[in-house]
Amino acid sequence: MLFQRKYVLALRRALYKYRYRKRSKGGEQEGEEMIKTENLTKEYNGNKAVDGLNLEIAEGDIFGFLGPNGAGKSTTILMLVGMIEPTEGKCIINEIEVARNPLKVKAIIGYLPEDVGFYGNMTAEQNLDYFARFYAMDANERKKRIEELLELVQLDGVSQKVGGYSRGMNQRLGLAQALLNDPKVLFLDEPTANLDPEGVFQYREQIKQLSDEGKTIFISSHILAEVSKVCNTIGIISKGTLIARGTLEELKNEFGRVGTENLRIIVETIEPLPEIEHEDIISAEYSEAKRKVVIESKSDLRDYISSELFEKGVKVKEMRMEEPTLEDVFLSVYRR
């Protein structure tokens, strides 16, 4: 079983590499390459947390990095932000190799760690001022930037010390800290984990705004809905290996149909439904006094159903084909 799974993963990786290269050659990639990893590997006591990871992310992309706990997401980010050194391979950001020039890289990136922490005996402003002093900013610049950022994350006017902050406030302060140096690339590790719905909404707005400014954003998360809402490309990692990559649409097309090749069409009408017959229909389940049917078919029959119902004078309230969610894609990738 284990051998089979390894074999499938290896095949999938080879397939992904082939496709990605083809797409790059075909000029589909939009901007310049901003983040790149080559055969990135990290071993802990002989166990590979990240195993030969090859990743290319274009400038201006919002890249969602998905994977279950222990898949190697955080280890990958830590290598990308220069906090740990890879055992093998390299990370390149904006054409700078991270392990060789970690400080140069840190000067152009921002990083929001999972469970971000600060100095509890200092205010938000004091914390940010301490971190800002590591960048080439004079006192006036620091003051101005800190004011802007505290306003952005809605912590302006909060005079209490950070030790008394809620986790959500800490997270917001973390985003402000990650943006201190107006970074070209932003790494966010589980950015919405501690936010309330209002905070999540604001976070999405901020990400949109940052993306409009041309920043490349790398988001690691296991909240699939969140990734599907803000990211334009997605990578799925398992056991330290990238097993799928593409836009959400591409992934849905490739992995969306969980355990079946059939389509599900849902039809709701005002009048009771007549019997719908077609050779491609596998099953039809009627409910709500025959005013709703879920049809499983071999092909997209929406045109056919629509004309059938029109001919029989049945008014359609809603007709849709069930779309696979990112969760379906995610589960599909793991179950294959």
């Binding site: 740990i84 400080l103 840190k106 971000v116 100095y119 590591f134 973390g174």
Partner: protein, 359 residues
Amino acid sequence: MEAKGLFNVARKEFIGHLTSKKFIVILGLFLIISALAMHQGMDYYNNRLENYKEQISQIKDVEGIEPGYMPEKPTIMLVFMFMSSYIMMLGAILAIAMGFDLVSKEKETKSLKSLLSCPVFRDEIINGKALGGTLALVFAMGTALLISLAMLLIFSIVPSMNELATILVFGIVSIVFLLAYFAIALMMSTVSGDSGSALIYTLVIFFILGSLLPLVGPTVAGMVTGEPPERPAFHIQHETDESEGPSIKEVSEEEMQQYQEELRAYWEKRRPITEAFNIISPNMNYQKISFLISNPQIYSAVYEQSSPFTSTGYFTGGGEAPGLQEVLGKVWKNILALIIFSVVFFAIAYVKFMRLDIR
């Protein structure tokens, strides 16, 4: 290495120490107790000074006193001898309190990741922490010395230039002693998973180095060298004539000389064993240095003669007190041991921090 990051970290740590409640409380306690010790020391000094004056006036009155003999004039460093015992306890606790959570707390609160995401080298962080802590200790010790000097002046005791130089040396040695415990605490903070464990391990080391080793040294020396030779003080002789009863016979000169030789050999054998244990105890090193600096005359009588007692069984004092340079020449090994302590434990903290797994 870029110094900008180092000074930024050191600045933050220094301000952090000075504004932290635990530092303020322990420093306050340390200063109050130091002031009380100074007061106690000044009483002692004044008494000794009175005695000295009395002896001088007696010498002038009494005829036939050896012209070379003069009683020892007390030095104001006696005042600091009282202070050193409190530094050894409260000062060490202050140093431990400052260092035990320097790294572990950053790991616990996850602020270390935020810090490391900035363009700063790891060595700048650990060096900055050490520098900030050192400056805070210098501040604490400097404040204590300034208060003590102010108290001396209030009590109309004006130190001479030589005494001021000695006070400065005393202050520097005290800082080096405090740094040894600060380095141990910093090392434990880097090695331990959490601040609680770091504090416990540091206190265990403090107990071993400060209390256990000074006891182990003499015990081991006693086991190796055995009992000291018995003093042939008086012989009780039973006379044959019962009416006269037992008579006491004086010890002969020859017997006494032999005993002295044996005693000298005993102490010569015992001293290196005790010193070997003492040299690895910051407390014993500091005690020896501060005692010698504050009371060189008594020290040389106790530690430098083969036996602290004369053939008559009395303590030998008197003689010319050694100068500061001579004193430093005698304790350079102990000062070096204190410096080595700080360097070794800081080096371990440094190496461990550079390899710290940030996950």
